[in-house]
Symmetry: C2
Subunit: 214 residues, 2 copies
C-alpha cells in the first residue's frame, strides 16, 4: 500500500510527521514524501527541513494521500501542479485525507464541495469558500475523504484510518507502538476548553506571523 | 533560547518532531537540528529524511537539549562524539531531556546514575544498566533532567517544559496552537490499557525489526 504525503514550502511538520509515524507502522505500507519537485522543503518555522524523496509526477496513483497544513497552504492552494495532482490522484485513491489547513488544498481541488469537513480551528471560515460545511469534530469522515482538525489531530486521524484500512487490532498495536497514551499537562487544546485570553493570544500570534510573511 | 535536537541514523521521527513542534512556538526560542555531521539523517523506517542544519560541534552550549529515541539509539549510545557532546552540553544546559530510548544516550553520557527515569515501555530494563530507576510515569522530572516515555510522549514532555521554562500561559497557548486536544480512537496506548494480545504483537514486531537490522 502506497501512502503519499505531499510537501510544500512552509508546511507544518507535525501535520505530516504525526500521520507518517502511524501509517509507516502498518505492515506492507510505504509512506513517500513527495513534492511538485523532489527536493528539500522547509517548514513554517524555518527551523526544520524534510526531504521529498519523489516528485509527485512519479507517484500518480497512491492508495492513500495525506495532505498536511501550515501557513504555506494558502500559496500551495494556488499551485496548479500540486492541486492537479491531488485532483487526479483522488480519482483512484482509497482514502484522501487532510490535516489542519491541508483541507484548503482538498478544497482547491474541488473535493470538499457539499461535504462536512474540518480544519484548523482559526481557519474554519475557509471551508465555506469551497462549498464545505465546517464541522467541529476532530476527525470528519465523508466516504473516502477524511479531514482532521489542527496539527496534532493527524495522529488521531491516522489511527482511525489504520482501523478502516486494515483491522482495529492493527490500529491498537500501532497506538501502543508509539505509546500514544496522551497526558496533556493542561486542558487548553481546543477553543472549547482554552480560556478567552489564551484564544486571543494565539490569534494575535497568528496575525503577527501572517503579517511578517506578507 | 537555543534548543538543540541531536539527530542520528535510525532515530524515530515523532520523538524529535513532537517536541520541535511545541518548543519552536515559544517566543524567542530557536530549535536547531544537529548531528555529529551536518548532513541528512534518515529515520528508523527508511521513509523519512530530515536535515541536520548544524554540526553538534557548532552548537556546544544550548540552553535545552532534547534527545530523541529510536532503534538507532543502541548504536548512537556507542558514538563517542555524540555522547561526549551530550555530556559536555549538559554542564551548561538549563534542561537536558530525552524522549523514548533517547534516555539510553543520556545514560551512556552518565547523566542518569541514581535518578528516576523513563523510556519506551519495551525498553525499561535498559535504564538499570545506567544506574537509573525505571519509573512508569509519562514524564519524569529530576531537577533539570527530564525523561519521557515512548515516541508520542515527547509532546506532553515539551508542553511541561514550556511551562517550566516560561509561564503556564505560554504552554497553554502552544497547546491551543497545535490543537492538542487528543482523542485517541482506542485505549491501547500503554501496557496498562492494551490487551495482552496487542502487547505480544508489538513485542513480536520489535523483535522482527531488530533481527532484520542485525
Amino acid at each position: 500500500m502506497q501512502i503519499v504525503i505531499p510537501l510544500y514550502d512552509r508546511f507544518t511538520a507535525l501535520d505530516a510527521v504525526g500521520p507518517y509515524e502511524v501509517l509507516s507502522r502498518v505492515p506492507g505500507a510505504t509512506v513517500t514524501f513527495a513534492g511538485v519537485e523532489a527536493r528539500e522543503y522547509t517548514t513554517d518555522t524555518g527551523m526544520l527541513t524534510i526531504r521529498a524523496d519523489a516528485a509527485l509526477a512519479d507517484v500518480p496513483s497512491p492508495e492513500v494521500i495525506v495532505v498536511p497544513g501550515g501557513p504555506g497552504s494558502v500559496e500551495a492552494a494556488e499551485d496548479e501542479a500540486l492541486i492537479a495532482w491531488i485532483r487526479n490522484a483522488h480519482e483512484t485513491t482509497e482514502w484522501t485525507t487532510s490535516v489542519c489547513t491541508g483541507a484548503e488544498l482538498l478544497g482547491a481541488a474541488g473535493l470538499l464541495d457539499g461535504l462536512d469537513a474540518t480544519t484548523y480551528w482559526a481557519d474554519m471560515d475557509m471551508l465555506a469558500r469551497y462549498g464545505a460545511t465546517a464541522t467541529e469534530r476532530r476527525v470528519v469522515e465523508q466516504g473516502k475523504i477524511v479531514t482532521a482538525a489542527g496539527v496534532s489531530s493527524g495522529i488521531d486521524m491516522a489511527l482511525t484510518l489504520v482501523a478502516r484500512m486494515t483491522h482495529e487490532e492493527v490500529a491498537k498495536a500501532v497506538q501502543l507502538g508509539i505509546e500514544y497514551d496522551p497526558e496533556p499537562p493542561f486542558d487548553s487544546g481546543s477553543t472549547r476548553t482554552a480560556s478567552p485570553e489564551t484564544i486571543a493570544l494565539v490569534r494575535a500570534t497568528i496575525a503577527a506571523r501572517d503579517e511578517a510573511a506578507a
